[in-house]
Symmetry: C2
Subunit: 126 residues, 2 copies
DNA sequence: GATACCACTATCCTTTAGGATAGTAGTATA
DNA sequence: TATACTACTATCCTAAAGGATAGTGGTATC
């Protein structure tokens, strides 16, 4: 029965759905260490202390927590090889690749945004 | 001079650049209110109290802070119209549209991730 | 026996995000 | 004069993220 307002694309419900979906994604990517850890593991699996050394200033407590969360989200697997002594490696899953497009867009926008800020510092508000 | 390792796409430097770019983007999108506020403003500009009512449980302190940050990032402008009394409206900028592709990818991935989690609850680990 | 590497865990502390509650200065309305 | 609306600011508080520092139980090496 409502007239006009044809331009409004979203109802309150679809908005909430969209916000929730975006926030789900932001949630799994956020924090200081998730991306660096995943990057550290691209190419080859690594052991706990190897990752710690690659990241330089992460503490074992934080690394342990982040690895657990990444494993829960199925971005990596913890593999125990029964040598003596056991050696434990962390390895990215194929599923972690599903983030590629998202990360690409986030990266591109970040680069453009930074360029824009720098440019607007050079010639401030017209 | 280095042999082999042709598969390694990133040097330590390009990784850091990429991580920084992604984090820049995550930074401007993050927090509880930035997206809801921008969505509230799509379609038409709104006044402070109108936004507050649309978002239902945001406090004026938080809203004020978020609006300032969104303005700094040039996602919106604060317009003062010199009527008596003055009325102040907040309006999305054309630049805010540059986020569209990013938000689309974040949304799609969020939806797929949620579906995957629900599916894996139905038939747990094979 | 001492030291060192591995993969962590435990405890405490600081910083940041976000919220609750109250107040302010101005205008308008009853 | 009292009430209410607009656009905020100020003060205090809580919860979560993240970090510093130390310790644990095992194996291996000197």
């Amino acid at each position: 029965m409502e007239t006009g307002a044809d331009k409004i694309i979203h109802t309150k419900e679809t908005c909430n759905t969209d916000v929730t979906a975006v926030r789900d994604t932001l949630y799994v990517l956020n924090g200081k260490w998730k991306l660096p850890i995943m990057i550290a593991l691209t190419g080859s699996p690594k052991r706990f202390n190897e990752i710690q050394r690659a990241l330089e200033d992460i503490t074992p407590k934080i690394l342990s927590k982040e690895l657990r969360e990444l494993e829960l989200n199925e971005f990596l697997v913890r593999k125990v090889s029964s040598t003596v002594p056991v050696s434990i490696t962390y390895e990215l899953t194929p599923y972690s690749k599903s983030l590629e497009k998202v990360l690409e867009e986030l990266k591109n926008w970040g680069i453009e945004h930074r360029e824009r800020i720098i440019a607007s510092r050079r010639k401030p508000a017209a």
